[in-house]
């Protein structure tokens, strides 16, 4: 059953070396939880995370990388969108301090669907001849295994994250979470061993009792724990509630071009928030 707790206890559930799945910046990214996680990293309480972006990363990934929390990154791309390159990601790759597993968007969706269905792999069209395949020793090109002369096809092993993380406008008191048409969040949660969710608010009702709400709901059985975090996606936007803080993200893009600037950003916007000094 879903537990209701606070942001810090939610962050404490994430352990060293775990595989975390994180949706893109436009898809309800749990920025407040990411900041809580960075505070834990700074305190030496979590390290060497394996981050999976579903399928691309942005500010959240860049900040986790900049804070040194990420050992391995699997992503189809990392970018700050209109604000340009993701500076800490770019720097880490060029410095050789980040182990990259470069992928492509539909490959990440497909590998999560394989876990969702409980199968060891799934095929995907395309990809053949891309250097991505050359450097991914876990991907396998096979001749049409149906033996129907369909030609070669790439098989992608299932990816099973330890934790899926996301933010949502609302949960109900039963632990059901509204995901609307952001259904990649359902696939992420289905594929993952656990899901940690922050929400703007918890509503005293049951989303499943109204067919209209039920259609956009992720059932509580996939949701491990929920914490309330108002404006929990800031500086990213949240559908229908608040817009992306473009100025803030542009300022980050500029400031984080150097390690020093990034450290200043953390001081001003991450480490200043209520801490977790007594955390486990």
């Amino acid at each position: 059953m879903t537990t209701f707790e606070n942001l810090d206890t939610l962050a404490r559930r994430i352990g060293d070396g775990q595989l975390l799945a994180l949706a893109p910046d436009y898809s309800w990214v749990p920025m407040a939880l990411v900041r809580a996680l960075i505070r834990r990293k700074v305190l030496g309480k979590v390290k060497n995370l394996h981050l999976l972006t579903v399928p691309i990363g942005g500010l959240a990934a860049d900040m986790l990388i900049g804070a040194g929390a990420v050992g391995t990154l699997e992503a189809a791309a990392v970018s700050l969108g209109e604000a340009g390159l993701a500076p800490r990601f770019t720097d880490a790759v060029e410095a050789g301090t980040l182990h990259m597993r470069d992928s492509t968007c539909p490959a990440i969706h497909t590998a999560l669907q394989a876990s969702e269905k409980g199968v060891p792999f799934m095929p995907l069209s395309g990809l053949i001849g891309s250097d991505l395949v050359k450097y991914r020793d876990d991907w396998k090109v096979v001749d049409d295994p149906l033996g129907a002369g369909g030609g070669p096809v790439v098989l992608l092993p299932a990816i099973k994250p330890d934790v899926a993380l996301f933010h949502s406008p609302r949960a109900d008191v039963h632990g059901n979470v509204w995901i609307g048409r952001r259904r990649e969040l359902a696939t992420m949660a289905h594929a993952s061993a656990s899901a940690l969710v922050t929400v703007e608010a918890v509503e005293d009702r049951n989303f499943l009792e109204d067919e209209e709400t039920a259609a956009g709901t992720l059932g509580a059985m996939y949701v491990t724990a929920i914490a309330t975090a108002e404006k929990g996606a800031w500086p990213q936007g949240l559908t229908g509630l608040y817009e992306r803080d473009t100025d803030h993200i542009r300022a980050y893009a500029e400031q984080a071009k150097t390690a020093e600037g990034f450290a200043d950003y953390l001081k001003a916007h991450v480490l200043n928030e209520p801490g977790d000094e007594d955390g486990a």
Binding site: V54, S79, G81, D102, T104, H109, G129, S130, L132, Y135
Partner: protein, 248 residues
Amino acid sequence: MSEVPYKPEELLINTFAGLLDGVGHVAVGALSPIPGCAALLAQELAKQKGRDVQVSIIHGDANNPFTDGGRELFDCAGQGRIGAFFLGGAQIDGEANINLLGVGEYPDLKKRFPGSFGSAYVYFVIPKVILFAPEHSARVLVEKVDFISAPGTSPPNVHRPGGPKALVTGKCCMTFDAAAKRFTLVSVHPGVTVEEVRDNTGFDFDLINDVGTTLEPDGERLALLRGAIGPKIAKTYPDFAARVFGQG
């Protein structure tokens, strides 16, 4: 020169819209205001001829018909329901291989770009992929890409209903012939010479017999673009709309 002054973006939008003629469904990825405008313009032009064109803009909620999560764009393309798509490339070579990932020898890159996004898939399954290189230089248009995010062509035994059909840069338009694995220069933008294109292109290419000048948008077209398309694209790209069309 066109009788009405226009911005370089407006020439590109007009050019892309021409390439989209006859396509039933155009999808536009993230960070693509110029392709987005071109798709909306092609839709408007088709409507004038009594035809419906669907435009799906992935980024944001306006003009976004997808309700099945991040995978639906790719599934939809795999089903053959998307006719055209745009791809960029930090490097593009003469065989239409594209590199969105980085410069140098992988994994020890000298310069890292964001990554391959969905290119390794959509380049295979969408029939008309239009390449876009705003910066036309030998740095972008290289002899051989350092990293193949997606290959321009495939052996005959590989299932590939899609691939590159054209390349539009800041200087010219080219078409791509998959059998010959070569680009052909079709037109240069106003004020650009064939020589200049050759000097700034790192790969060898063919020329059509009579390389013309890229068609400029006339007053009517510009009015349509600024009057009808500007407000639509402003829903997704307000900054772009303000800068190019003075909208928003």
